[in-house]
Symmetry: C2
Subunit: 342 residues, 2 copies
């Protein structure tokens, strides 16, 4: 019988999760049925959306059940296969969760295709986060040459891709991140302006950085960044809402004043588009173009990326809690097992 070591959801957090929200345990895997594969996890992706899955309420996907394995994307190696298309040794992208091994349907995985880039990028710039950036911009942001785009969490997996794609599309880009090290990297990778949201004069500095207003604000943060951005949105500005990491641990509506009427009035008067999306909804319409364009941009060095690699599945909970506090620097992945030697 095959075994897996897994991080399971120990209890549902109220507000900020802690180490007690998770439990590491060994489990037996079911025997392989026809069409299935046994996978060994090499890299596990840690992403903000996972916080939503820890709640009981249905978000855009079903919640993780208490005592079930935490959900997550992985790069995995096929160890055994009862599936014609996959053979032992193949590397695949799967949604195998926070565990060392998994049994999955062959139809639920796809072979890694990252060109000359490291396989871990299949979880980052060439995977779900990179695609969220690409598709949100293509479908909703529709940034035009000469326009100004603002994105926060800009050193993260999604934000850094958003800024660099927008620059390729001819936009002026303003990136926001926390702390001097991240801000310096934003400048390195070509943001026109890089701002630190921890700066006490952040709102003023943002105002100075967008003298012509903001045409696209790619929203993946919310909170204080939104407040600073909001007054500068231009007529016909687009706001793709990809995520709201600053809100994920809130449990009740905050005290007033109530900012809803001002938002609705601005939407009305400025004819704003505020639209939520998940990358999954846009696969059919944008994935093929993403794979073609992004793979070549990365190969040509036009899109840079940064990975924050943590070793060992047992460190996944701590790394995830740090991610929710903005402590990671670059796309956060856990190296669960070694890459196969070729």
């Amino acid at each position: 019988m095959n075994q897996t070591r897994a991080v399971v959801l120990a209890s549902r957090p109220v507000g900020e999760p802690g180490p007690e929200s998770f439990r590491l345990e060994d489990r037996e895997l079911p025997a392989l049925a026809d069409g299935q594969v046994l996978l060994r996890t090499i890299y596990l992706s840690l992403d903000p959306y996972m916080r939503g899955r820890m709640n009981a309420s249905r978000s855009y996907a079903a919640p993780v059940e208490v005592d079930a394995v935490m959900e997550g994307g992985t790069v995995s190696e096929v160890l055994e296969s009862r599936c014609d298309d996959l053979a032992p040794g193949d590397l695949v992208v799967a949604h195998a969760g926070w565990q060392t091994h998994a049994v999955m349907d062959g139809t639920a995985v796809r072979k890694v295709s990252v060109g000359s880039a490291p396989v871990s990028t299949a979880l980052g710039v060439l995977g779900m986060p990179g695609f969220a950036a690409y598709a949100g911009l293509a479908e909703i942001g529709r940034v035009q040459p000469g326009e100004t785009l603002v994105v926060a969490a800009a050193s993260g997996a999604v934000g850094s891709a958003v800024g660099q794609i927008a620059r390729i599309r001819g936009a002026r880009t303003v990136g926001i991140a926390g702390g001097p090290r991240k801000v310096a990297w934003l400048t390195e990778i070509g943001f026109d302006v890089a701002l630190d949201h921890r700066d006490p004069r952040f709102a003023d500095r943002l105002a100075d950085a967008v003298p012509g207003g903001i045409d696209v604000y790619f929203e993946n943060v919310g909170g204080a960044v939104w407040d600073a951005v909001f007054p500068h949105l231009n007529d016909f500005a687009r706001v793709p809402v990809c995520g709201l990491i600053s809100q994920y641990n809130t449990t009740t509506a905050p005290p007033g004043p109530d900012r809803l009427p001002a938002l609705m009035t601005a939407i009305n008067v400025k004819r704003l588009v505020v639209r939520g999306f998940t990358q999954r909804d846009l696969l059919a319409s944008h994935y093929e173009a993403f794979q073609r364009e992004m793979t070549s941009w990365v190969a040509e060095g036009r899109v840079a990326y940064l990975e924050d690699v943590v070793d060992g599945l047992e460190n996944a909970p701590r790394a995830f809690l740090g991610l929710l506090r903005g402590e990671n620097f670059g796309k956060l992945v856990v190296r669960v097992g070694p890459e196969p030697t070729l």
Copy 2:
């Protein structure tokens, strides 16, 4: 020298305007230049958007200056013409304002085209409000057969058109209005459900009326109706934001709780589209289809309309203040002068 009697903006209101916000006065009109026409106003349209023009701040259009003639759409008769395309006796739609006469460029007016309908409909169901309904639905609402649409101020010029167009498109329609007389009329013109927002159990009745949730909420009201609608928005619901009459007199952000984070979270999780528009922005893309479809729907009796006609320019301020309080029943127009006898 030609004269006009005009309602001018006497002072900018703070909060709710009153009779003191307006002043009736006689003015001299300039002499006709080449390409201009002298117009006599027959009908003046009174619309909620005019409240925004009374403020100093730029909305989607420039404000009316203090002591300037209040802005407004009219059906007018050409009295004199120095323009090749227009002759005395022609009826035109113009933006001649709250006055009995006006001198305008011939290029700024267009001949009335309402088929067999009364000319006043060029300010209502076949004019700007009808077009706002049509274009907002076509461009943003995109209502599909079998979907549920909700609209408030549903006995008004825009709302009644929204509901009836959506029904023609195959949607289930829920109309909201204030008071039994308006609610009864909604049922007459074919809304599947008609609700009174003054009913103390309004929110519960709305919940009962939308067991499958809401796919399109056409927003022209805001306030308490929004609060009742919000929890029932389905995944991928569309919210065209056409107006917010309940907000037009507010001067400061209301007390908490702050509803903004809950809205942004819903936009994110439910992948909502919330988008503001003005009919003017959509003329190029939708006006031709509107004119063709709406004229025939009205002629065939498939789209009903109701006009609330007030006599005399001097009564325009009082009628407008009533409009802001929801006292009109149907499209509000002022009969400024007689229709020409044919």
